[in-house]
Amino acid sequence: MQSDPALTVSATTVRFGGLTALDDVSLAVRPGTVHGVIGPNGAGKTTLFNVICGFVRPVRGEVLWRGESLRHHRTHDLARLGITRTVQGLGLFAGATVLDNVLVGAHRHRGSSALGTLLGLRGAVRDERRLTERALGVLDELDIARWRDALPGALPYGVRKRVALARALVAEPELLLLDEPASGLSEVEVEELVVLLRGLTDRTAVLLVEHHVDMVMRVCDHITVLDFGRVIADGPPEQVRADERVTEAYLGTAG
């Protein structure tokens, strides 16, 4: 018995000029699962994320969040709806400390308005304190609290990746979109990431795009394989691993 999907991408096609980046792609992410999207370079993985986030408009199809179309939502609405995302370049704010970087993402549950902050209302001040506490909690959880006052530029890459993850997690999302979470990490760090992601499933679904196939096979409950913008396999890891078309797509053997 499976629960209703949290996120549904339905029959979505994206074209850039003459290039079809996504061709009739459908997938469903269920609550409390880790869902991986793999595929060779140029298969359309990041385009898929960009469609979900509203950076790219599909020519056909739509994205549903809990059964409701995201067509009319703007990118910044998604965090409020419970969807946050990390990006490949990490996109950390260079001049802000680790704590401040995480605080940028920490306002989803903020009660007071921008005006309240400008006027220095007491409720707003209390909110700021609560947000800081929550951000510190996430830093603690990801074991990077000791770098709270450091600037990201001075930190090792693995730590910076965790800062980006913390910034997406602090909004308490119900769907976390991770763009290549394992890239650039050492084998040890990848192991830690697998444990960490599995630990998130009691509070959020995870949709990740990744090149590291071994890692995806171990961490994911469900895998969608893209090749040239089409879904060529979709199912649990063992089924996808056994799929001949997947092997072909990765090894490049024709028929």
Partner: protein, 283 residues
Amino acid sequence: MPDFLTLTLGGLTNGAIYAALGLALVIIYRATRVVNFAQPALALLCAYLAYSVNRATGGYWLGLLVALVAGGVLGALTERVLMRPLRRSGELAPVIATLGLLMLLQAVSGMIWSAEPKSFPYAFDFRGAFSPAAVFVVVVVLVTAGAVLALFGATTLGLRMRAAAFKPEVASLVGVKVGLMLTIGWTLAAVVGALAGVLAAPPFLSPTVLDAVFVYALTAAVLGGLENPVGTIIGGFGLGVVLSYVSGYVGPELVTLASLAILVLVLTFRPHGLFGRGVARRV
């Protein structure tokens, strides 16, 4: 020979105004990478509104309040109506648009209130070396600057504004309303600019009264590296004092020239400002 203390105090008073108008420029530059050349005209319009309210009511404070509110409204409108459609039009288009707005607003002010100088009141008694009016100017600007710094440095709203300016796409992915942050930035800047306009206007208000002040404010902002509020405030006060010495010891006709010379020297030898540290401190 003019009195050193008098020159210094007078310079600090003028410098406060340069600092405030410079701060308005820095807030917008940080948020959008645009030097808002329309800033003096926005401030001018607000000062004229204060003048009209002062004339109608005979008081000072209601006029100041109206000017600040009008500044906020004008700032928000400028961002929504003029700047937002140009966001993806390259770096030059928004700057040219602010120049256009400058000319438009200056002309409109002249049409409504005429080019003839209007007498504009001080907040308090302005007689003496460091008069109550001068103290008022310095204190108001320092308090305003402190509030702006606290907003940017110590609140999550300020943090989101910085994030929206630095990496708009990434900021929107974690839920920052980038458009709203820009509107708030322009609003805030225009309110600070309106304050500077009202403080700079006395004793006489005319359509060109802020032109020279704008050159000094821009110099102050460049001294601070264009995106460093603290540097700009120090730059504003410092420039005020230096120009006051130039005026007193060398000659008042050389003040604008001296300011432009400082601007050129800073841009040549310290393009990131006296306090700037280059690209690394962009947030």
